[in-house]
């Protein structure tokens, strides 16, 4: 039980540090943000596994994501926009929310004749 407590504490510290990291990024001036935008190629290598998933797994598995953009696309955009660390956190958040309360709270959008929930990255980072 002591181990579980220590592990849990470790997670909290890590997550709080993570939260501080993205809070800090929000406060960065514009010129720093534009410098980060130049890391598009770096983002491309980071999202390589997502591209593999989209090309070989998702295409065989079928188009079942109830959100638009799809979760893989959302993760890809989040990583490109905010880097691997925050992108991974935003991606995890999206996977928790996908297809549940978000369908009730967000606007619907019709994509290829299917009703999806409109939940872009900009809808989840507008506040920082």
């Amino acid at each position: 039980m002591n181990k579980l407590f220590r592990f849990f504490l470790f997670l909290i510290v890590l997550a709080v540090l993570g939260a501080n990291a993205f809070a800090g990024q929000g406060a960065k001036p514009d010129y720093v943000k534009s410098a980060n935008d130049g890391n598009a190629k770096k983002g491309d290598t980071l999202i390589f596994p997502i591209k593999i998933y989209q090309k070989y797994i998702s295409s065989a598995d079928g188009d079942r994501c109830p959100s638009y953009p799809t979760c893989s696309q959302y993760c890809s955009e989040a990583i490109k926009k905010h880097g691997a660390f925050l992108g991974w956190i935003m991606c995890s958040d999206r996977l928790i929310r996908d297809g549940r309360d978000e369908t009730r709270l967000s606007d619907p959008v019709w994509v290829n004749g299917k009703k999806r929930t409109y939940d872009p990255v900009s809808n989840n980072d507008f506040w920082w």
Partner: protein, 325 residues
């Protein structure tokens, strides 16, 4: 006689083709002869100011805004001393505005305000510039231009309308105190016209807008799902709790049984979901606040805002009130 008859028939046969070609030459000839030279039967078209202006107006009224703006420009260029030039310049801006080209509209209206000072259309242009900036979500720029109008105009009514518009821009950005400050600047004689009593009463209700504290949502998320629960996302809360609980337990078991590599991988995944649970709760609180504030703004816009855009179609300054009973 026979010969005579024969000759007569022959001459008749020659006469008709000849007459045809002569008549053809006479009918076609003058048009070749005339060439580009104007004649009384083919005068050059003379464009009058009235015709040009009417053409532009017709295009504008049929909502062909892109062509209308070009024709108003032509009018301004060819008849620069006409009394309708200022109005035409205003219409150029309106054509861009109604056509959805807001940046071009701003440029056109600014051109008018640089040329004319404190006139009816110059004042209107300042309003339209701010409207265009609002459409582009550039609220600060919209405020700056209205503030410029307040500084330069000597017309108290124009100033009051600018204050009213500035107040509404602050409402759009949920800056309630700033909105109140600008509404309070409106002179006493226009307070009734702008329904300020009703507006103030509506603004007082802003304290009752439901609100979720993002920091509290983040703090509560230390227990996975509790932040989502606080924001009214019950399904998300349950999933966050089960997912994080399951992964934490799996990681603990892995480490406990000496499978450090597996434990590390699970911890890495769990770290994402645990942080995501905190991030999502904070984000959900912000989204909740945004939605509720938006609903409140929409409500007061529908109920107490005076429609100042009724003069968009050049019907003069018309104020229309709308409220629900």
């Amino acid at each position: 006689m026979i010969i005579m008859h024969t000759r007569s028939a022959h001459s008749t046969c020659l006469f008709f083709p000849l007459a045809f070609f002569i008549s053809l030459f006479l009918s076609v000839g003058p048009s070749f002869a005339a060439g580009d030279t104007p004649t009384p039967t083919n005068p050059l078209m003379v464009l009058s100011a009235d015709k040009q202006f009417q053409y532009a107006q017709d295009l504008f009224s049929t909502k062909d805004y892109s062509t209308a703006s070009g024709e108003y420009k032509r009018f301004v260029y060819f008849f620069p001393k006409d009394r309708r030039v200022e109005f035409s310049m205003y219409q150029i801006g309106m054509s861009h505005f109604l056509g959805g080209h807001y940046q071009e509209a701003v440029s056109a209206f600014k051109k008018l305000t640089e040329q004319y000072f404190d006139t009816e259309y110059a004042t209107k242009s300042y309003y339209r510039i701010s409207d265009a900036y609002i459409k582009m979500k550039a609220f600060e720029q919209a405020l700056i231009d209205l503030n410029n109008l307040v500084t330069i105009t000597h017309n108290p009514d124009a100033k009051d309308e600018a204050y009213y518009r500035m107040g509404w821009i602050y409402i759009e950005t949920a800056s309630w105190n700033e909105a109140r400050r600008y509404f309070n600047k409106i002179s006493a004689k226009n307070r009734h016209k702008f329904e300020l009593k009703k507006l103030s009463a509506a603004l007082e209700k802003e304290t009752a807008i439901p609100h979720k504290n993002p920091k509290l949502a983040g703090f509560l998320s230390i227990v996975p799902g509790a932040g989502y629960l606080y924001c009214g996302r019950y399904q998300d809360a349950l999933i966050a709790f089960l997912l994080n609980g399951g992964l934490i337990y799996a990681a603990y078991e892995s480490f406990d049984k000496g499978q450090s590599a597996l434990g590390g991988v699970i911890s890495f995944v769990e770290f994402g979901f645990y942080s995501g649970n905190i991030y999502g709760a904070i984000s959900s609180a912000h989204k909740y606040n945004r939605e509720k504030t938006g609903q409140f703004i929409q409500h007061i816009k529908e109920n107490v805002k005076i429609n100042l855009s009724a003069d968009m179609k050049n019907k003069g300054v018309t104020l229309s009130l709308q409220w629900s009973f």
